[in-house]
């Protein structure tokens, strides 16, 4: 067996085995036996007939099985969905099976030969097309008139500009919006959903509270909430936080952060610095916080440092203190942008 063949062998070497031609056609049982043929015909018709029956059952199920306030169930599953879908599925399937059995068993199955044609156009066609094109181009004179040609190209290219410019109002410019949240000095840290403010004594070691800025639960002078709808969602995306309580001895605050917590209670951003999923998988014994999206893990006893996973930056910490009424409040906004990194972040 030689591995390297030059072109020569390819051209002169005939194929080792001659083409025996298409196999002669062999009949099927349904082609020779009228009883088999009738059986097959009945089988196909049965499939079609059953399909029609299932279609009717499907339509009946639509009206018989209730949805809404008191939905019907079958075996712990939604009856309407199972019945309508099940019958519809069988109805469709049986048409398909019937059609295919018809083709396999009863339709003529002699193999036919069709010749291919080359994909390339004939030389005559090519010449004709080329000539027509050249004539057209010559008559247009575009080759002889570079001024017209170039100015046309310039004008068409310029039309690309409006297509881009008209999209300008898709959105505002980012500015430095990403660098700030709604957190302010003395803003209460309250539990999400219930809105209750938190005293340090309310929390035990090992506790996690999912929190939000207190301003989310305040109403404005018109009696409407200060934050609702889209504004609330946008603010939450950066301002959501968690409070965790650890043994003060376990915490190793970096320089300048010694007073950012209260008796071992620390407040961190809930938004992962990878691509922005909220995190609250808190392991109370290891002090690790795991993000469920891509498994970035942060050590909250060590300033939110990344200890595993694809996140690149530590979790931002919100400095907190106690207000005059004894509740936990923020000392200020986050000292750095919250959430995923971006080019201008610095």
């Amino acid at each position: 067996m030689s591995d390297v063949h030059s072109k020569e062998i390819e051209r002169t070497e005939p194929d080792p085995i001659a083409d025996p031609g298409v196999e002669p056609h062999l009949p099927r049982p349904t082609d020779v036996d009228p009883a088999a043929e009738r059986r097959a015909e009945r089988q196909v018709a049965t499939f079609f007939g059953l399909s029609a029956v299932f279609t009717i059952l499907c339509c009946v199920s639509y009206f018989v099985f209730a949805v809404g306030d008191n939905p019907d169930t079958i075996g712990g599953l939604g009856a309407s969905n199972v019945a309508i879908g099940g019958f519809l599925g069988l109805a469709l399937l049986f048409i398909g099976i019937g059609a295919i059995q018809w083709a396999r068993k009863l339709m003529g199955d002699h193999e036919i030969i069709e010749m291919r044609h080359p994909s390339v156009s004939s030389d005559a066609d090519r010449d004709e097309a080329l000539e027509a094109f050249n004539t057209g181009v010559t008559e247009s004179g575009i080759g002889r008139r570079p001024l017209i040609r170039n100015s046309l190209i310039g004008a068409m290219a310029a039309l690309g500009l409006p297509a881009v410019i008209f999209l300008r109002d898709l959105g505002p410019l980012p500015g430095n919006k990403l660098a700030h949240t709604v957190w302010r000095k003395n803003m209460r840290v309250v539990q999400d959903v219930t809105g209750v403010p938190i005293r340090p004594s309310d929390m035990e070691i090992g506790q996690l509270v999912n929190t939000e800025p207190g301003v989310f639960y305040k109403d404005g002078p018109d009696g409407e909430p200060l934050f609702e709808g889209t504004e609330l969602q946008q603010a939450k995306t950066k301002a959501a936080t968690i409070l965790v309580r650890m043994h003060p001895d376990d915490i190793t605050p970096s320089r300048g952060r010694a007073d950012w917590g209260v008796d071992g209670i620390l407040c961190y951003s809930k938004i992962c610095t990878h691509v922005g999923c909220p995190i609250s998988l808190w392991e109370q014994q290891t002090h690790h916080l795991l993000c469920p999206c891509h498994q970035s893990t942060f050590d909250l006893a060590d300033n939110g440092k990344v200890i595993f996973g694809p996140a690149a930056r530590p979790l931002p910490q919100l400095p907190i203190m106690v207000d005059s009424a004894g509740y936990l409040v923020a000392q200020s906004d986050f000292p750095e942008p919250v959430g995923p990194s971006y080019w201008e972040r610095g």
Binding site: G96, A103, D192, G276, G309
Partner: protein, 581 residues
């Protein structure tokens, strides 16, 4: 009384009533001239093989998507405006949510067959993309992408990409917690892009995430823009298929210049049409019995909430896996941040993979220098390097896909997500390499088996014992049809490097490129087993005849081993030479 003329009845003669279908065809032809096109297409020949139907799964799934999707648009409200839910689902009643989510709940609980249509739509989307992948693999492994079908490969790759985007935009429309988390991650991906990241993010969302524009904008992309492009590309894909005709497997009577198979009408119309109903039916059964995307259990999207096991739909699993195993690399330069940890796995890698996919036919043509038209398919074993290349790409894809589900793998098999991640970081490089090597050797060994069958015949399993006590296995020549099929392939031409320098020692232009091509071509075809020449075949047959002469006394007798002990029973007419056909 007899009339002078004969008559065939009592009524006046009338022209036969025209067939109704014929009348319609007549009307259309007078205006459209359909017969010219129809004459060629009605009995167009299609070769028959199950692997040719994989693309059809994708095609029919697309039709199901259009039908079920249209149903959904009649009830879905693509708005992020806030509303209070007052529908039938108890656990969410009274909560504020977007119109998009509320209308999805209405479709699921208060519109009959609504949940079925939602589920069928989602299942067929998954099948659409899976079928495209399987079809892609079939086309690649059999070499069906070679000239003249490279363009169709490009169109197919674009269909795959657009289908993936269509799926992503689609499942994000209900604005539920899981898909909202996905959109949040997509926002993070955009923000990681250098220079333009925040601008793209703000422009797409109409401001800060999540804003109130993203759902209506994704809706436009999902029901108008991408389906329009998909339809056009599918039409082009089908048109090229009709023009080039389908490829076929080599075999008796099948050459590079013909197509052997069954005609469009009636056989293929029935089989393809039937398969449409089967795809539709299977999708409906899945929509009936398997609950997919139960958005009511996730809740409305809230940027402060997340669920464990947050994954995108399966077809985005591999970039998600790349994102998970990527180490946390970031560069800070002159006040700017380059987030390699997001940018590389999510922007660069998929871009690179897609480009590689697009370029596969052209790269192979560049390496092999093969400019012939190919309409006969190749068995994967006969193109070992190509097959190994695709298997290693699949291994890379598959490992990343598994990495995307690392937390679910961890809880199902009681493993540690940290260990899985560390393993994957190494495996995605080592795995494809190992897969390449193993696959190529496997293909070559299969080629050697084929060569063996051709030259020495197939093994019959009948063991002969000769007079001296030696055992041999009886081989019989392959049937002609099979032997022909095995040899109906081209010989591989390895590029030779012609003299690269002229008499003055000056290197010819393009010599560097030619050298590279020659080397790559050698690597591509190295160790391939070529089909035997006529001389080799004759020599082998002669050799077999010599061996057969050994057993000549036994021809016509049962070979049960008792020939030499006088206890045998000869079965009359038992002839080993015609054992199989």
């Amino acid at each position: 009384m007899k009339t002078p003329f004969t008559s065939n009845g009592t009524k006046a003669a009338a022209a036969p009533k025209p067939n109704r279908v014929g009348a319609v065809a007549e009307w259309a032809d007078e205006r459209l001239g359909l017969a010219t096109m129809a004459k060629k297409q009605i009995r167009k020949v299609f070769p028959d093989h199950w692997s040719f139907m994989l693309g059809e799964i994708a095609l029919w799934s697309f039709v199901v998507l259009l039908l079920t999707g249209t149903f959904l648009t009649l009830w879905f409200r693509p708005s992020m405006g806030e509303t209070v839910y007052n529908g039938s689902y108890d656990q969410l009643r009274g909560l504020e949510m977007s119109e998009a989510y509320a209308s999805t709940l209405d479709i699921s609980f208060d519109v009959r067959a609504g949940l079925l249509m939602r589920q069928m739509h989602h299942w067929s989307a998954m099948l659409f993309i899976a079928a495209m992948l399987v079809h892609l693999m079939r086309v690649y492994f059999t070499g069906a992408f070679r000239k003249p079908r490279e363009l169709n490969w490009v169109i197919g790759s674009l269909l795959l990409l657009l289908g993936t985007l269509e799926g992503f935009t689609g499942y994000s429309l209900p604005d539920d917690l899981l898909s909202g988390t996905g959109i949040r991650a997509a926002d993070g991906f955009m923000k990681s892009m250098p220079v333009v990241g925040t601008y793209m993010s703000f422009f797409l969302f109409g401001g800060e995430f999540p804003g109130d524009s993203i759902i209506p904008r994704l809706y436009t992309v999902h029901v108008l823009l991408i389906p329009g492009v998909l339809l056009a590309l599918i039409a082009a894909h089908m048109l090229l298929l009709v023009y080039h005709k389908h490829t076929q497997w080599p075999g008796p009577g099948r050459t590079n210049d013909n197509v052997v198979g069954y005609p469009m009408l009636p056989v293929y119309a029935a089989k393809a049409g039937g398969f449409f109903f089967i795809v539709f039916g299977v999708t409906a059964l899945m929509g009936a019995f398997l609950s997919i995307n139960p958005v009511w259990r996730y809740g409305s999207y809230n940027p402060s909430e997340v669920t464990a096991g947050s994954q995108p739909d399966w077809y985005m699993g591999w970039p998600d896996g790349a994102l998970r195993i990527m180490p946390g690399w970031e560069t800070h330069l002159f006040g700017f941040t380059l987030s390699w940890n997001v940018f590389l796995p999510i922007i660069v890698l998929p871009g690179l993979m897609f480009t590689i996919l697009l370029m596969l036919p052209f790269v192979e043509a560049w390496i092999t220098g093969d400019k012939r038209n190919h309409h006969l398919l190749q068995r994967p074993r006969n193109a070992p390097t190509r097959t190994a290349l695709m298997v290693s790409l699949m291994t890379f894809y598959g490992l990343l896909w598994a990495a995307g589900g690392n937390d679910l793998i961890a809880i199902t098999f009681h493993l540690s997500i940290n260990q899985i991640t560390h393993f994957m970081r190494v495996a995605v490089f080592v795995g494809p390499l190992i897969a390449f090597i193993i696959t190529r050797r496997w293909c070559i060994s299969l080629q050697r088996k084929d060569q063996d069958d051709l030259l020495h015949g197939y093994e019959t399993g009948v063991i002969m014992r000769d007079a001296l006590g030696g055992y041999t296995e009886r081989h019989l020549p392959l049937p002609t049809a099979e032997a022909y099929t095995l040899t109906a392939r081209d010989r591989d031409e390895i590029r030779q490097l012609e003299a690269g320098t002229d008499e003055n020692g000056v290197a010819a232009k393009g010599t560097g490129k030619a050298k590279l091509q020659a080397r790559l071509s050698h690597w591509w075809y190295a160790h391939n087993v070529q089909k035997p020449t006529v001389a080799e075949l004759e020599e082998a047959h002669h050799h077999v005849e010599v061996e057969d002469a050994h057993d000549a006394p036994l021809v016509g007798h049962a070979a049960d081993g008792h020939q030499f002990d006088g206890r045998h029973d000869v079965v009359e007419g038992d002839d080993l030479a015609h054992h199989r056909d």
